[in-house]
């Protein structure tokens, strides 16, 4: 490869990279600027004032705790349901397997924003509105199709011979799943858990529609209190809160991509 070509590619990429970073500059600079507006500017007197201002139980800790509860709950429900579903699909041949997997795949392509109106109606009818548990189950269902696909792929890579030994010793299939298969796919379980957790953590629309009381709202929704709810927009605090709210998922993403390669999120969809 010629070095001229390489240089041209480097320059083109650097320009693209800059365009992708540019919208984030404001976020980083405004967070440490007590006088922040929409201008991107080096703060004249940089300080942690904005972080200090949002560092209160009601502004920060309660919404983040709610986000954590929602995301961890969603990921847990997902993991249990997906492991159970993946086991027979991975271990036994049945004429239901293929149609089931393809309907699940089809389920991954439903535009979730389109079903929010009927889901709201359903929640009203069953008086589930503002229920954390019901919201968790709904959020778990929207990511379940993807989780089942990923889980089945991970489970397929655990050799069947290991379980046959356990069966010989008289273990039931569920006991073999728990004692033999799951420990061997720890890694895959972690990936699915984190993947679903990240999605739930960033979900705005679902809790926005289904959770009404302020005390239950996750950070994705409570962030609006900085955004002109009381007239003026607290720019610096909005930016500071955004950063504190984003850090956990950024760290989780780094954790997963380090161990699986950055294409982890695609293993369920594109590669099938």
């Amino acid at each position: 490869m010629t070095s001229r070509l390489r240089l041209a590619a480097d320059i083109a990429l650097a320009v693209i990279g800059f365009c992708f970073v540019a919208p984030l500059l404001w976020l980083l600079l405004a967070a440490v600027d007590p006088q922040a507006g929409y201008q991107t500017a080096l703060p004249s007197a940089p300080s942690m004032e904005n972080f200090g201002a949002v560092f209160t139980p009601e502004l920060l800790f309660q919404p983040l705790a709610n986000s954590f509860l929602l995301s961890a709950g969603t990921a847990a429900v997902n993991l249990v349901a997906a492991v159970l579903a993946a086991y027979p699909l991975s271990r036994y041949q049945s004429r239901f397997n293929k149609p089931f997997m393809y309907s699940v795949l089809f389920g991954t392509s439903l535009p979730v924003t389109a079903i929010m109106v009927p889901v709201y109606g359903l929640f009203v009818q069953l008086q589930l509105l503002d229920s954390m548990v019901a919201t968790i189950f709904f959020m778990a269902t929207t990511t379940l199709p993807m989780a089942i696909w990923m889980m089945k792929n991970f489970m397929d890579s655990v050799p069947l011979e290991l379980e046959e030994a356990a069966w010989m010793d008289g273990a039931s299939s569920m006991a073999a799943l728990r004692a033999v298969v799951l420990p061997l796919m720890r890694h895959g379980l972690g990936v699915v858990f984190i993947f679903v957790f990240i999605q739930a953590w960033g979900n705005f629309f679902v809790p926005f529609i289904l959770l009404l009381s302020t005390a239950k709202q996750p950070a994705a929704v409570s962030i609006f209190s900085f955004f002109g709810q009381h007239g003026a927009i607290a720019y610096g605090q909005l930016a500071a809160f955004s950063i504190l709210y984003s850090v956990p998922v950024l760290l989780l993403y780094v954790l997963v991509s380090r161990s699986v390669g950055s294409s982890f999120a695609l293993s369920g969809s594109v590669k099938g």
């Binding site: 693209i16 997906a82 392509s109 389109a114 109606g121 990240i198 720019y235 998922v249």
Partner: protein
């Protein structure tokens, strides 16, 4: 014997129940409610009436729906099919030719916009396109005239913002696909005197065409459902100039309380999803013998 074979499928039941209850039932209810005058409050909220095709007739005679449908098509075509897809492929191709340090740095920048929570990305985009925002500051630096993007060109702003946010997905898909293209094939073409563009058009692209098709389906479906980004940046305005179908469905159902009409709009969106989803499943099934 057959009973045991059915019993083996028992662990699938929790998943099936969840999917039936939380996904299939709402979809079915959506189609049903779209034929009623269900409302958020008032008489029709307690006792909705069957109104036949009224909502659908209204949809096509109303100005808002055809406009929203058209804006959705433009939004998806420009930000997903053109923006994310082409830019993602371009970045992935450039990465195969560039220094490792540059490509990993740019890769991180592109992925960062994608991993950020949607609401944070939406705020950042709002600030960026604001009249006092970074984009206008940069334009002014180069002597350009600043614009009130969110007011004058709201659709352009959300198209660019969605491209910024979603390109990482296409980039990752194409990086994986390009890594799978056997090196000796393009080497051989190079020996035969094929130029860069010819190699791309006649060798590389045909070899990754199944990835291209799958990627196009997935980003189309994702973009069809985008709500938060638009809602934070423009709330569909000014005067419906950036109201896509999800925003319209939300406004009709929750702002104006007209559940029946809102679900009719949502049903159209679900139907679109069903069509694209069917093509997508078809694509994946044909790939595997």
């Amino acid at each position: 014997m057959t009973i045991r074979r059915y019993l083996r499928l028992l662990p699938v039941v929790p998943s099936v129940l969840l999917l039936l209850f939380f996904l299939l039932a709402p979809v079915a209810w959506s189609f049903y409610a779209s034929f009623t005058d269900a409302a958020l409050s008032g008489r029709a909220a307690r006792d909705p009436h069957w109104v036949g095709l009224d909502n659908y007739v209204r949809m096509f005679s109303d100005d808002a729906f055809p406009l929203a449908a058209w804006l959705t098509v433009v939004f998806v075509a420009a930000s997903a099919v053109l923006g994310q897809n082409v830019l993602g492929l371009l970045i992935a191709l450039l990465m195969t030719h560039s220094r490792k340090a540059v490509s990993s740095w740019v890769g991180t920048a592109v992925v960062a916009a994608w991993v950020l929570p949607e609401i944070v990305a939406a705020f950042a985009a709002y600030a960026y396109f604001n009249r006092d925002g970074t984009l206008n500051q940069m334009l002014a630096f180069f002597g350009g005239q600043g614009l009130d993007w969110l007011y004058t060109f709201p659709l352009v702003a959300i198209i660019l913002a969605n491209t910024w946010r979603g390109t990482a997905f296409s980039m990752l898909v194409y990086r994986a696909a390009l890594a799978d293209v056997p090196h000796d094939i393009s080497e051989a073409a190079l020996m035969d005197g094929a130029h860069g563009w010819q190699r791309l058009a006649f060798i590389t692209l045909p070899m990754i065409r199944s990835s291209i098709a799958t990627n196009l389906m997935l980003i189309t479906l994702q973009t069809l459902a985008v709500f938060t980004l638009i809602w934070v940046m423009t709330a569909g305005g000014p005067a419906n100039a950036s109201t896509t179908l999800p925003v319209l469905a939300y406004q009709e159902a929750f702002k104006f309380g007209d559940i029946g009409y809102g679900t009719a709009v949502a049903s159209v969106l679900i139907l679109l999803g069903v069509v694209f989803g069917a093509v997508y499943v078809r694509l994946l099934r044909d790939q595997r013998p």
